[in-house]
């Protein structure tokens, strides 16, 4: 992600869309402004409390810390749930690289929690077609990457009796394609041309793609799962940069006779070097990868994690750390489960009584644990398991 080195004369506003995320003048992403601009709603504490009450368990750390901070119609999902009406989850990944980093895992970790807490089924779309179009990759390579990524996704702990993973190359066709065409008919060039503003439209495939990502929001796209359940609602956990796609989908839904899909949106997992944008798979030092060893993690954090601490120990003890820009504290707020401990660290570090080294060490421990656990689970995923997750099969116990 670039820092504020724009050559433009006018003030460059922050840019957030599915292809690019940059903050204004190399600062931080202004999420409040984003919510205003996009027109979604803030996920306030009463809603989090409601989730706790309905699910009978403590809300996920991402909810408590405001990582998932915005939504569209999540309250509708909860209203229906209260009345005994379930829903299904839909999330996805664009398999552009084999290496997954922690930022990629965030939506999946949250989705797993949602699946467990609400006891609902989940469909996961691997957009190998999109990556094939966008990146300089062959069809076969994208399919291979999709399967490899599927293993890491499965390692997050999804329940095979409630989860259907599919790749576009494998699954598009039949009822799914019929929905794509129905959607396409509603989406005129005007609607899709908003994409042009991002200067990213080059081939005809780019039009179709928006539609491919929209189709899983409708239950009839999965007749082997939801046949006869046209009334079933859909909840989409995603990063907020995906909002434009789903705005379009929500627009189309009523015209096709479906509920608008609800969204629950997360902020970006910042890169190690600072909160100017999101992690990039192309720069290995901007992120902690799930294949990193404990030594590598420790090293990356020590060398590259942007610190909000002061230059010298004396100055630090006097002024304290700048928690706004400090990356280790930010990362801890994602992965350190203990609220009390995080509070303690923030207080002490912010007052200058705790040093950067200590915070970084704690972070290294926490992340190593996350990565180790993931690796262990990943080792248990076989090719047959991937086949089973991706098989077009009924899921009779998906609401149990």
């Amino acid at each position: 992600m670039e820092k504020g080195e724009d050559k433009h004369e006018e003030e460059q506003d922050q840019v957030v869309n599915p292809w690019e995320v940059t903050a204004k003048d190399g600062g931080k992403i202004d999420y409040d402004k984003l919510i205003d601009k996009f027109g979604c709603q803030r996920l306030e504490e009463p809603l989090v409390d409601r989730v706790q009450r309905l699910t009978g368990r403590p809300p996920h750390v991402f909810l408590r810390r405001g990582v998932f901070f915005a939504h569209r119609d999540f309250d509708e999902i909860l209203n229906a749930y209260e009345k005994g009406k379930k829903f299904y989850l839909y999330t996805g990944r664009g398999p552009s690289s084999e290496a997954l980093h922690l930022g990629h895992l965030v939506p999946f970790m949250f989705t797993k929690y949602l699946q467990d807490a609400f006891k609902v089924p989940l469909v996961i779309q691997l957009t190998d077609d999109e990556k094939c179009m966008w990146k300089n990759l062959s069809v076969e390579e994208c399919q291979r990457l999709a399967r490899e990524n599927a293993k890491d996704i499965i390692a997050c702990g999804f329940d095979i009796t409630k989860t259907f993973i599919f790749s576009d190359f494998d699954y598009v066709g039949g009822s799914f394609y019929k929905n794509m065409v129905r959607i396409a008919k509603c989406v005129t060039y005007n609607k899709v041309s908003f994409l042009e503003a991002f200067s990213v439209l080059y081939t005809s495939g780019d039009f179709t793609f928006a539609v491919v990502q929209a189709a899983p929001s409708f239950p009839s796209s999965f007749p082997h799962l939801f046949s006869g359940k046209d009334d079933l609602r859909c909840l989409i956990p995603c990063a907020i940069d995906q909002d434009p796609y789903f705005r379009m989908t929500r627009d189309v839904a009523p015209r096709l006779g479906y509920h608008k899909p609800s969204l629950i949106e997360s902020s970006f997992f910042p890169a190690l070097q600072g909160e100017t944008g999101k992690m990039s798979a192309s720069d290995p030092n901007s992120a902690i990868y799930v294949t990193d060893s404990a030594k590598v993690i420790k090293n990356k954090i020590n060398k590259y994690a942007f610190s909000g601490g002061q230059d010298s120990v004396e100055k630090h003890r006097e002024l304290g750390a700048n928690l706004e820009v400090d990356i280790p504290v930010k990362y801890l707020s994602f992965f350190l489960e203990d609220d009390a401990e995080l509070e303690h660290i923030k207080t002490e570090y912010g007052a200058g009584r705790m040093l950067t080294g200590e915070v970084k060490k704690r972070l290294a421990d926490v992340l190593t644990e996350v990565v180790d656990r993931h690796r262990a689970a990943r080792a248990a995923v076989t090719e047959e398991m991937v086949d089973a997750f991706m098989a077009v099969r009924p899921l009779p116990n998906m609401f149990d």
Partner: protein, 317 residues
């Protein structure tokens, strides 16, 4: 009341509830005789003791611990829950008379020999709102009637304890441990009473005690492949992990602290602090790791079934 049936002479004084010896003194302090202070104690192996002494007798828990053969700092005040569960009395009401309850069968009683020097002594019956004065010999009558041999001890003595001098009070250590799980998921506190229902203060050394613990997860190692509760609903997994973690923490902190400091109060404070900080962490760790293992096993089993199902040959006719 039991005492009358036994033909025991006693005087009964009712008063507002009192929680301390000083408060009790306000109401019955002028009636002659000795006020008693009663301590409810617990050792590291979950064995319980009532130490009943004259209010003025100095009771040193460190010394007592050594004389019982529990090492230094092996004994401390019992937790509040134990009071209710074992003695069935409210706070501030520890009394030898509580041994009338079945639940207290494995609680050992140490009586101050100084009681015998008093014309009569004050104890609470089973309530804070009454004090009764009885003679020491009558207290003995009561104890024998419930199958207890009264044990009078010189509580202020401090005999050396070492290789050639065995702990002189070791015979007063109870033969059974009692577990007080505090998890609300357990409907009944489990007791160690497996054999006979009647307590006997028999000769025993601390080493030969059976410990009968409450139901614990079978695998002590969270990394073990066999996870007990595959089909159990979620709440059980939480309860188990909590008990499991509490056990680990209890053992670890007790061990650590006995090495670190002999100050019982400090130990208590440190133990609580450690428990408070570690327990949620460990519980989360256990829960998330165990639940991840659970789901991976489920997935593996399903996959194998799926593979078998999709590759099976049609029946040959």
């Amino acid at each position: 009341m039991v005492l009358q049936e036994l033909g025991i002479k006693f005087e009964q004084y009712d008063h507002p509830a009192v929680l301390t010896v000083e408060a009790q003194a306000k109401y019955v302090g002028d009636k002659g005789g000795g006020l008693s202070k009663n301590l409810f104690l617990k050792d590291k192996k979950s064995r319980f003791y009532i130490v009943s002494a004259l209010a003025d007798t100095k009771v040193d828990l460190k010394v007592l611990s050594q004389r019982l053969g529990l090492g230094k700092g092996g004994i401390r005040m019992a937790p509040e829950e134990a009071l209710g569960q074992l003695l069935q009395v409210p706070l501030g009401c520890v009394t030898p008379f509580a041994l009338i309850n079945e639940s207290a069968s494995y609680v050992s009683l140490l009586l101050d020999k100084e009681f015998k020097t008093q014309p009569h002594c004050f104890f609470h019956p089973l309530s804070n709102e009454t004090s009764i004065s009885v003679q020491a010999s009558d207290l003995d009558k009561f104890l024998k009637s419930i199958g207890r041999e009264p044990s009078y001890v010189d509580l202020e003595a401090n005999p050396p304890v070492g290789k050639d001098q065995p702990p002189d009070l070791a015979i007063l250590v109870p033969s059974g441990t009692i577990d007080i799980p505090d998890a609300p998921e357990n409907s009944t506190p489990s007791q160690a009473v497996s054999e006979k229902s009647f307590p006997v203060q028999k000769k025993c050394t601390p080493a030969s005690v059976d410990s009968v613990k409450s139901a614990k997860p079978s695998s002590a190692d969270p990394n073990a492949k066999d996870k007990p509760n595959n089909a159990a609903p979620q709440p059980n997994a939480f309860a188990e992990s909590r008990l499991f973690v509490d056990e680990i923490l209890k053992k670890t902190t007790e061990l650590l602290l006995s090495e670190l400091t002999e100050d019982v109060a400090k130990q208590e404070a440190l133990a609580n602090s450690v428990r408070k900080h570690l327990a949620p962490d460990l519980q989360n760790l256990t829960r998330t790791f165990c639940s991840l293992l659970q789901v991976m096993f489920k997935n593996t089993a399903y996959t194998q079934g799926f593979y078998a199902g999709s590759n099976c040959q049609p029946k040959r006719l």
